[in-house]
Amino acid sequence: MSKENEMKNNSVNEAASEKKEQFSLNDDRRVKVLSPGAMVAKRFFRNRIAVVGLCILAFMFVFSFIGGILTPYGENQQFYTTEYLNKPYAGAVMNEEFRYMSAPGQDFRADIQAQLIRANNKGETEFTWLNVTYGIIQEGEGFYRVTNADGSDLGIAFTDTVKSSIAGQTLSYEFTLEALRAYANNTGSFTVDGKTYTVDEGGGVVEGDKDVAFISRYIVNAISPDIFLSRQFQEELVEELEAGAETFTFTGEDGEARTYLIEYRPDVKQWQIKQAEPTRVYDKYASPSLEHPLGTDRHGMDMLTRLMYGGRISLVIGIIVEFIGTFLGMIMGGLAGYFGKWVDQLIMRIVDIFYCIPSTPILIILGAAMDALNVDPSLRMLYLMLILGFLNWPGMARLIRGQILSLREQEFMTATEAGGIRVSRRIFKHLIPNVIPQIIVSVTMGMGGVIITEASLSFLGLGVKFPYASWGNIINDVNNTYVLTNYWFIWIPAGALLLLTVLAFNLVGDGLRDAFDPKMKR
């Protein structure tokens, strides 16, 4: 305790008490008495840098532990967004080959179809196949009717196609035949089943003023079978196809104009029509906005929330690891320091051995092994804490042993011995409390180190694993150069928090050391 401080206290108290009552010079009440703890606190709070460190730490704890509760989002809550993707919508092809249709009750088999083409190419009007003679009647250009030997229809072969304009309506053989015949010969109208239809030049088949079907050389089919393409759509599309356009805008019945992309694929002589369709995807790497102040990460999770939970994990791991290390170190160091001789020799050699173990490579190997075995992420975190804690004790043991070695020789220890106090009580009640200042300083400084180690391992993907957040595994994304370049909000906040936390622990540790032992102040 420095005299300077006491003098200062005295003068301050004197000034204050002048106004109140006068005490005699040697009155105890004139001197404000501070407990050792209060003195330490006073010295600590006079150190501005250490107080800054303490404020940062306080902020980190609030941010991580209370922030996680206040945030409206969960640790692993994923957000979605709508993206427009060009999905295949329809396909179109110009029909150059015959299509076939069997008459009711007839079977226009594939072998007969082949014979028809052969005969037609030779210009014959009839052909014989399997002892049956079939007749070919040309109804129009690229439109033939095939008859059986008895003159009845077997079926028709045509290149212009007839498509229904009404969803769900199937067109009969009779209708198809008559419609094509009317279209080919430009007769304008035909009658089927007592109904009269008219055929216009564009190929539309109308009953009264109702569209029934239309005839076209192009075949347009939707990719998905539950989409019905209206006649108007098909006609407008065909116009665009013939004009060689690359996009096509169509206003549907709902009055909404949609734009389609047309791609011609020369290898199969087909057109593919693509529609920009809204798709639900993870809202990944979203820029900072009001909803997500720091954007979202590659899984579409809110970055700020991840940082809060990451901080929680980093701090908890730091605390637990330091606790394990201190606990083991206290026992081993206490035993070594108190008993000396062979116990000390043995424990210190064990400490030497542990000092010599290359901890980072060991942690990497264990991490890789856990990867290979697909260890559950939460179990992994537990192992990580245990391993780090176990690798942490030798430093603490060495520190405590050194302190105890010198304390052991002091008079108060002789007094405890003379008083017949139990050994365990002498170590843990009288020796260890005297080492507590050093332990506190060492734990505070050590926390920074543990947090860095954990973050480094998580950064390599060998520590805390997804779905758990950790500042280290958040920064891990910078391994992707695109993220490094374009998404600062993914990794800079995490790195800054990590740096600040570690720095704060070091600053507070430094401040505490100076406060506990002003003589050592450098």
């Binding site: 290359p358 973050a455 950064f459 490094l484 740096l499």
Partner: protein, 339 residues
């Protein structure tokens, strides 16, 4: 003195024995499916032996079919007779791969150490001589900040600033490129360059890694220098020197600094073997083929022979470092009596 060194050496050998026993046990206690996984992977490579053959071979090769202690004794025997085995990942003898990559790490380590000494020691001394001044606070806080800096984050920042944001025209093609390369040790056109160009190309690739290493290691030495200098400045002989009427310059650089050198020489000497140990994070993030990066890849792919060798190598370096520090301590400071 000789007796002391021999005693320390013997102790180091014993410690090495137990350190490697622990490491061997840890690697052995990894669930056996780990070796099976490796064997399965190996057997799936084209033209490879069958799974069972690999498994048996691996087990026999690493004494996994024996108990831990006999297996360890076997490994130790092999190690000390110079048989380090073949690396699974690199499919060459471990020692060949090691010899190929360790020199880059050594080179980086030496350059880093020289820069570190040149920068950290003067700054530490300045901070100590101007204790409680603004300079002192700045240096102390900077030193703490450097100590607290997570390597990987610092590298990412450096890359963002110097490889992406700052662009210069490429002298060869005229297109824009980063001031420093993102990764690697050579440019693509390295083989077409003249030896002088090759030298500069290599140096150009090493600027950022070495900057990183210097920055992250400088803080500790700065603090250490400052603490020791302060201790010396409070000593009686410094007061005597001042009382004699020596100039402040002479007091500090002649009397005080020489005495500060005692702990500095010890700690620097002790870190000499560490020059070979490589920088795992820096090398990995810059993809530099040094011992750190190569062993990192070996370790994560479960290359047991290489990992065992690397761990043994690191343990030896640590022991050697402690030994050198202890001996130097006694050599430099005549007040120290060796027991």
């Amino acid at each position: 003195m000789r007796k002391y060194i021999i005693k320390r050496l013997l102790l180091a050998v014993i410690i090495f024995f137990f350190v490697m026993l622990i490491i061997y046990t840890v690697l052995r206690c990894l669930p056996s499916s780990y070796v099976e996984t490796i064997a399965r992977e190996k057997s799936q490579q084209p033209g490879s032996k069958s799974y069972q053959e690999w498994l048996d071979q691996l087990n026999a090769m690493y004494g996994l079919d024996k108990g831990i202690i006999p297996g360890y004794i076997g490994w130790l025997g092999e190690f000390f007779t110079g048989h380090f085995g073949d690396s699974w990942k690199y499919t060459v003898p471990v020692i060949d791969k090691f010899n190929e990559v360790v020199w880059l790490s050594f080179e980086m380590g030496v350059i880093t150490m020289i820069l570190e000494l040149i920068i950290a020691i003067p700054l530490g001394i300045i901070a100590a001589t101007k204790q409680y001044s603004k300079t002192d606070y700045t240096i102390s806080i900077l030193a703490l900040a450097f100590i607290s800096l997570p390597t990987f984050f610092f590298i990412a920042l450096l890359k963002l600033v110097f490889c992406i944001k700052i662009q210069i025209p490429d002298p060869a093609t005229g297109s824009m490129m980063g001031l420093f390369p993102l990764t690697g040790l050579f440019s693509r056109t390295y083989n077409q360059m003249t030896p002088v160009q090759q030298f500069f190309d290599r140096a150009w690739h090493l600027v950022l890694p070495i900057t990183t290493l210097v920055i992250i290691s400088i803080g500790g030495l700065m603090r250490y220098t400052r603490t020791n200098m302060l201790e010396v400045l409070n000593a009686d002989y410094i007061r005597t020197a001042r009382a004699k009427g020596l100039s402040e310059k002479k007091v500090i650089y002649h009397h005080a600094f020489r005495n500060t050198l005692i702990p500095l020489v010890t700690i620097v000497g002790g870190s000499l073997p560490g020059l070979f140990s490589g920088a795992l994070f820096t090398e990995t993030m810059f993809s530099l083929p040094g011992i750190g990066y190569i062993s990192y890849n070996a370790m994560i792919s479960g290359d047991i022979p290489f990992s065992m060798f690397y761990l043994a190598f690191l343990a030896i370096l640590t022991l050697l470092g402690n030994l050198i520090a202890d001996i130097l301590y006694a050599v430099v400071d005549p007040r120290v009596r060796l027991a």
